[in-house]
Amino acid sequence: MTIDDILFHAFAFVAVISALLVIFNKNPVYSALFLALCMSVLGAMFFTLNAYFVAVAQITVYAGAVMVLFVMVVMLFDLKRESEEILKFSPVTTAKVLAAALLCGFLVGTSWLGVTAVKDHLAGQVAPGTLSADLEKPIDGKIPKSIISLSAEDSDESTIKATPEEARELLNKMGGNPNPDEDLTAAEDAKLVEKATATESKGEPIEEFGSTVTLSRALFSKFVFAFEAVSALLLVAIVGAVALARSKGGTHHVG
């Protein structure tokens, strides 16, 4: 057992306990604070998964912004502790708990069995871009820098040849190519080959998987439509929130 394993179990324990406290605490202020804790722990877990920027973004956005809003609203309302029991014994409550447990069972079962099945299926035939055959071992892909960096200006003469398919595949995998399905011209193909092979022969400094640069390249090329859609979503949310907050309050009338 390595420290990674120990930490995963520690983080998982804290995350699950704080998640349970979110829903079973009668005081909404504590619920919100425990949710912030849960989100921070998940952020730390992302850090151990090499998703550095995602981890800090998770803490900034969820723990630092969204949950602050929740805490502020709960404190402003000055909601009292709920007097009603959350888990009182009744057929409806039992059904609810059973439904959630069943959902949990399904999710755990499918993910556990599914991963094992994929593992068995892929044993021996590793295809790049698919799940790695041995799912106990994460792909800590060390990716040559000049494959990621499309702007690498110099490309020396190559000794080892990579096929255009391989080069393109590597680029697609990193999200470096804005249009993975687009047919490249012969000249562009040649360039890709050059780049891929130049790296192999030169042994340049390598970039770690999950680096922010790789992520940004994917975010602003492959996901450009989603990125622009985000701006529209935020605009709508701004307008909606302002309109709602400025309204005199309430809906129409008490029924």
């Binding site: 550095y52 803490i59 900034t60 502020m72």
Partner: protein, 400 residues
């Protein structure tokens, strides 16, 4: 080696039991260094303010009133442990720690100096070398709001709650402007790593225009402030608001809100809020130094830290005779000390400016403060971002 120590091998805590122990001690030392700088800053603050207002300040206890710090500490420790009846007990006790922790965690990512090597073991002058350093600092700093909100709410006092709400609203308002203001400089450095930022600022002032390196004023250091002066002003101003210091100390406006969110706190618990505030102040001074003033690198030193290391390589034979160290190791230790002093001077200057401004400017009104954040700083940082983007577009985009 015990099993527990073995687990840490391969992490940034070092390789081997010795390095792990030394690194743990180093982390504790940096923490206590930050904590013990607080009374010193308080002393500077009180003496400095007295000097500015033509008073004497604390001058009775010890030389120059320096022992006043010890007297204050003793008083903090021997106060009656007081808890208001209506308080939410758990949060009331946790809130000071929730304020202190983010302040200390942000300082952890600050590179204080170059790494040094002793007996073949290399140690970094930094608690954690995080490759997304600057965003990490912003992320953790934004968690500081919880301590304030928790303190205000758990005290069950309306002054506390209103003070906490004011403080948190103000902090989040200025966080946006703060985040936006540094994007221009990030475009230039192309990294989130604080050490790489320092290295990007070595050498003389230069920039790239259409593929050519232009060096108009070679006597200027290559510091960020010369590229982004407006960003510096915005960042510095936002720093005051983030630390809730004058002229932005509305949360603690004595006339209206008593002492703000820590009205109901006393003794050591109050002291921890204080440590948190000064910790944030130190982190923000250190960040300004790193982003805009070349960090620990000496200005006009040519190749920066490399040059300093080489200088000590040829001038450190005397140290090798005093203590048994290889020349390279002695040079690395001396270079580390040089850079540490350089960093302390730069950071100390900004800490002094914080104190200076506090006793110079009057307090804003709350609506003026929010207007400044949303209607002045935010548009200006957006304008700065737009101008930088456009300028870089013309400088770098070459359709040919």
């Amino acid at each position: 080696m015990s099993g527990w120590a073995k687990l840490w091998i391969g992490t940034d805590m070092g390789n081997g039991l010795l390095e792990i122990i030394v690194n743990t001690i180093k982390i504790a030392l940096i923490f206590f260094a930050v904590v013990s700088t607080v009374p010193l800053l308080v002393w500077v603050e009180r003496r400095g303010s007295a000097f500015m207002q033509n008073r004497l300040g604390p001058n009775r206890v010890g030389p120059l009133g320096l022992l006043q710090l010890a007297a204050d500490a003793v008083k903090f420790i021997f106060k009656e442990p007081f808890v208001p009846d209506a308080a939410d007990k758990v949060l009331y006790f946790m809130a000071p720690a929730m304020c202190l922790l983010p302040a200390m965690l942000t300082f952890a990512a600050i590179p204080l100096s170059t790494p040094f090597t002793v007996m073949g073991h290399t140690f970094k002058m930094q608690v954690a070398d995080i490759n997304v350093g600057i965003i990490y600092i912003f992320a953790v700093a934004s968690l500081g709001v919880y301590g304030i909100l928790a303190a205000g709410w758990s005290s069950a006092n309306k002054y506390s709650l209103l003070g906490a709400l004011r403080a948190s609203s103000q902090m989040i308002s200025y966080e946006v402007a703060m985040g936006l203001s540094i994007i221009g400089i990030l475009m230039k450095y192309k990294t989130f790593d604080l050490t790489k930022m320092i290295w990007a600022q070595t050498g003389p002032f230069n920039f790239i225009w259409q593929g050519h390196i232009i060096q108009p004023l070679s006597w200027l250091p290559n510091w960020g402030i010369f590229f982004q002066p407006l960003a510096f002003i915005l960042f510095f101003t936002a720093g005051f608001a983030e630390t809730n210091r004058l002229p932005f100390d509305l949360p603690e406006g004595e006339a209206e809100l008593v002492a703000g969110y820590h009205t109901e706190y006393g003794g050591f618990k109050f002291n921890m809020f204080f440590m948190g505030e000064y910790g944030h102040m130190m982190t923000s001074s250190a960040l300004i130094t790193i982003l805009f003033f070349g960090g620990y690198a000496l200005p006009w030193s040519g190749g920066g830290p490399v040059q300093v290391q080489e200088f000590w390589m040829s001038h450190s034979s005397w140290l090798s005779q005093v203590i048994p160290l290889a020349t390279g190791e002695a040079a690395s230790v001396l270079a580390m000390l040089t850079h540490l002093i350089c960093f302390s001077i730069k950071m100390g200057f900004f800490l002094f400016v914080y104190i200076w401004v506090r006793w110079t400017l009057p307090r804003f009104r709350y609506d003026q403060l929010m207007d400044l954040g949303w209607k002045t700083m935010l548009p200006w940082s957006l304008a700065n971002l737009g101008a930088t983007t456009a300028l870089l577009f013309f400088a770098r985009y070459n359709p040919l």
